[in-house]
């Protein structure tokens, strides 16, 4: 059997498709199922765009923690430092609600729906050529996998994000206005929360990326700058409060009209919200379950299509994550080989 025979076996003719009809069918489906589009990303000239995206993602995780986690009454106290991670299934309706509430994933806009978010020390990603340089800048020993699948080749690029901090001030006015823009009525912000502040710090964080072409900006080009493997390591984020309490924040979040019963139940089920980092897992797109990694309990997240896997864990005050196009066993093997 030669190449022509293989081509014949697999079919030599392309099916004739009607793209207009397919588009009509697609449009009807996303409308009937209430599926929201992820807004197109703004095109800006940014050097090391991947680092900028990373910083935004890190910020989202930190602030998401602030929204779902708790505080204690009194003066400024540290109210959150993750000791473990847990997957929280998020349904499509939750995502639709969050998408509406947040005008996409822009951090400032999202938080603007509930108050004022101000970076006191903004994240400023930097790129390095060697692990030693990255470790020196991060202020901790950057760990790296000692065993990699054959699909991961070449040397990684290194990025470091400085220790960043932000202040978030809850505002009943902002909440009302954001709800009005969406033609809905939000539950009133409790007086104890209105005006209270959260102080959020995160990082430093170090990231190693294999497979993304050097100098990729994401702005042009026919081919992707999708990395083969991403390894992240960061000092665990912490959140302090000047008064808002655990139950006030959690109750207010759970009273939002767009939160599904499943998500509410998952949030309520978090045993120790002051030390558990909830990781949102889209219920229709991914699976997650606890795994043992580096001798501690971590979280495995797998894309339903089998294209992507992630392992996240916390150990000795550091958060770690391994993300790439791997099977679960490959991802765990990489994670367990980190030294």
């Amino acid at each position: 059997m030669n190449d022509t025979d293989i081509a014949r076996a697999l079919g030599t003719t392309d099916p004739s498709v009607n793209t207009d009809d397919a588009l009509v069918r697609f449009r009807a489906r996303v409308q009937s199922d209430g599926i929201a589009e992820v807004p197109p990303v703004a095109r800006r000239r940014i050097s090391s765009r991947w680092l900028q995206g990373l910083a935004a993602a890190a910020g989202v995780v930190i602030v998401a923690s602030a929204l779902t986690l708790s505080g204690v009454a009194g003066s400024i106290l540290q109210i959150f430092e993750p000791k473990s991670v847990v997957g929280v299934p998020v349904s499509q309706s939750d995502l639709n609600y969050l998408s509406q509430a947040c005008s996409g994933l822009n951090l400032e806009e999202c938080m603007g729906a509930y108050g004022t978010f101000v970076w006191t020390t903004p994240p400023q990603p930097k790129e390095f050529q060697t692990r030693g340089q990255a470790s020196a800048d991060a202020g901790f020993a950057v760990q790296t996998p000692t065993s990699l699948p054959s699909s991961v080749t070449g040397n990684p690029r290194y990025g470091v994000i400085n220790r960043s901090s932000a202040t978030f001030t809850f505002s009943a006015d902002s909440t009302r206005q954001a709800a009005a823009r969406q033609n809905r009525t939000a539950p009133p912000l409790p007086a104890d929360i209105d005006g209270s502040k959260l102080f959020i710090t995160g990082g430093p964080a170090a990231v190693q990326i294999w497979g993304a072409p050097a100098g990729a900006t994401g702005a042009t080009g026919a081919y992707p700058d999708v990395p083969t493997l991403i390894v992240g390591q960061a000092k665990a984020p912490t959140i302090s409060s000047d008064g808002v309490t655990v139950e006030e924040l959690r109750s207010y979040l759970l009273s939002q009209p767009g939160i599904s019963p499943q998500l509410a139940a998952a949030i309520r089920a978090i045993g120790d919200p002051s030390s558990t980092l909830p990781v949102p897992v889209p219920a229709e797109l991914a699976i997650s379950h606890p795994v043992t990694v580096q001798g501690v309990q971590g979280l495995y997240i797998g894309d339903n299509t089998g294209i992507a896997s992630a392992v996240i864990w916390q150990k000795d005050g550091m958060m770690f994550e391994v993300i790439g196009s791997f099977t679960e066993s490959q991802a765990l093997s990489i994670a367990n080989s980190m030294r």
Binding site: M1, D3, I6, A7, R8, A9, L10, G11, T12, T13, D14, P15, V17, T19, A22, L23, R25, F26, R27, R29, V30, Q31, G34, I35, A36, E37, V38, P39, P40, V41, R43, Q92, L95, N96, Q100, S151, T153, G211, G218, A219, T220, G221, A222, Y223, P224, D225, V226, T228, P282, E284, L285, T305, G306, I307, S325
Partner: protein
């Protein structure tokens, strides 16, 4: 709520739909099923990625291959037989001889069974290559070096031949 698609997404859909169906069709040999897979692939992308990211085509190509292979493995014996009967080989389509049609259909059924048995990356590589993707496009979709595509493709073809014998 999705009242309308962004221009970026509509453009992406129009540019890539036929190719995504083509990739799925190489695996499934069933146009209706391939179009169902393509719809699912675009929905997955739509709900989780901005339409104008540079990796969009490669993501769609890879997802088409993997989703079609998943669908193929999910077919039970009865549905495979139905597909084979409904879709004779190209060569068989020009004959009226029922025996040839049945023989060709069984061959096509066997080809699909071989694809389902091959390692995921090999099967995906064959689907992408024989759907007309360039080495560079295959490398982007499967996240491998372009210089490795030729070697990996030959291995996949060798494995395909061995399994078919």
């Amino acid at each position: 709520m999705a009242d309308s698609l962004s221009p970026a997404f509509e453009s992406l859909f129009r540019t890539e739909y036929a190719r995504v169906v083509g990739i799925a069709h190489r695996v499934l040999a069933d146009q209706a099923e391939a179009e169902d897979v393509a719809q699912d692939v675009f929905v997955s992308f739509y709900r989780s990625h901005p339409a104008n990211v540079p990796y969009a085509p490669a993501w769609l190509h890879a997802a088409a291959a993997h989703a079609a292979l998943n669908a193929l493995r999910g077919r039970d014996r009865r549905s495979r037989r139905e597909a084979a009967q409904a879709l004779p080989l190209d060569a068989a389509a020009v004959t009226d001889d029922p025996a040839e049609v049945v023989a060709a259909s069984e061959t096509r059924d066997e080809v699909r069974a071989v694809l389902a048995r091959l390692p995921e990356r090999s099967a995906a590589m064959l689907a992408l290559r024989y759907a007309g993707l360039s080495y560079a496009e295959i490398a982007a979709a499967l996240d491998i070096r372009a210089s490795s595509v030729g070697t990996l493709l030959r291995r996949a073809e060798d494995a395909f031949r061995r399994e078919l014998q």
